[in-house]
């Protein structure tokens, strides 16, 4: 006895799929960006260890800003899951 899938289920399934794709692709950018920020910070600390505190703080701020696009895709994914 074939259970036919109505329109609402398809919309729900598509929303969940979209949320997954949004998060998946959204994780790519911040990963790359934060890696570059951390790498440059390590080089700078290597060159000038006395400034390690300031460099670490600046790195954290830079990483948080680089992370924002990933957070936007997280917000989109949350909207798709909870609102659609």
């Amino acid at each position: 006895m074939a259970v036919e899938i109505s329109g609402a289920d398809i919309v729900r399934a598509a929303a969940m799929l979209g949320a997954g794709i949004a998060m998946g692709i959204g994780a790519f950018g911040p990963g790359l960006g934060e890696g570059i920020v951390a790498g440059k910070a390590c080089e700078a600390i290597g060159r000038n260890p006395r400034e390690a505190g300031l460099l670490t703080r600046t790195m954290l701020v830079g990483q948080a800003v680089a992370e924002s696009t990933g957070i936007y895709s997280l917000v989109v994914a949350l909207l798709l899951i909870f609102v659609v």
């Binding site: 954290l60 701020v61 948080a64 800003v65 992370e67 924002s68 957070i71 936007y72 997280l74 917000v75 949350l78 909870f82």
Partner: protein, 224 residues
């Protein structure tokens, strides 16, 4: 686990208009305001040349942010914007940390709080720009590099508000959802303190600092 998507509302009927208010956020904001006032009172109550722990903490915050604001805005405007920046940081810090206490939730988990703070920063930055540079110069700057770039500049300014608000909102609500879901999966064993430590304390502190620093930078960009 099941009440992640639920939001409790208070509905006020003003004549024919319905005013719907998010009750959790309001109550938690009052709790955070109380905590900030308590911190202020405790820190400044027993003022002495040999500072107690709370006074030391308060002095550290004040001196650090006075230094940051002086670097960003210069001597002239330091006095005017220092209290805004330091107050915003302490409020946001306690907002993000209050979720760690059992039974309490972060007010910044609600887009209204962060968007409200973002719009406040936007108005302050642009109000200062108009006061400092005068309306004509302020408007002329939107046509700066080339005259047809005006829409781009306008959208760029609005995008700053959206990005700063959604960054704080997304980080905090994402962290709290991850905490709830993983705690549910692990049946509350072993992991929750580390989750709260990372998402509640560390990410909360970094995001509060980033929000405050970016607001300060947006003001300083407008002033110079």
């Amino acid at each position: 686990m099941e009440n992640i998507g639920k939001v409790s509302h208070w509905v006020f009927h003003l004549g024919d208009t319905r005013l719907v208010v998010n009750s959790t956020t309001l109550m938690m904001t009052w709790v955070v305001i109380g905590l900030v006032l308590a911190f202020a009172l405790i820190a400044t109550r027993g003022r002495a040349m040999v500072p107690g722990p709370w006074q030391q903490l308060a002095e550290f915050l004040v001196q650090w942010f006075r230094e940051l604001v002086r670097d960003a805005l210069g001597e002239a405007y330091e006095e005017r914007y220092f209290t805004l920046i330091c107050g915003m940081f302490i409020f946001l810090l306690l907002c993000n940390w209050v979720g760690v206490l059992p039974g309490l939730e972060e007010p910044t988990k609600d887009i209204n709080t962060t968007l409200g703070l973002g719009i406040m920063g936007f108005i302050i930055a642009h109000g200062t720009a108009i006061k400092v540079k005068g309306l004509k110069q302020y408007l002329k700057e939107y046509f700066e590099p080339m005259f047809f770039l005006m829409p781009l500049n306008v959208v760029g300014e609005v995008a700053k508000v959206i990005s700063i608000s959604f960054r704080l909102f997304g980080n905090i609500i994402g962290g709290s959802i991850i905490i709830v879901v993983v705690t549910h999966l692990v049946y509350g064993l072993l992991l929750p303190p580390f989750l709260y430590g990372f998402f509640g304390l560390f990410v909360g502190t970094v995001q509060a600092f980033v929000f405050t620093m970016l607001t300060l930078v947006y003001i300083s960009v407008q002033i110079r």
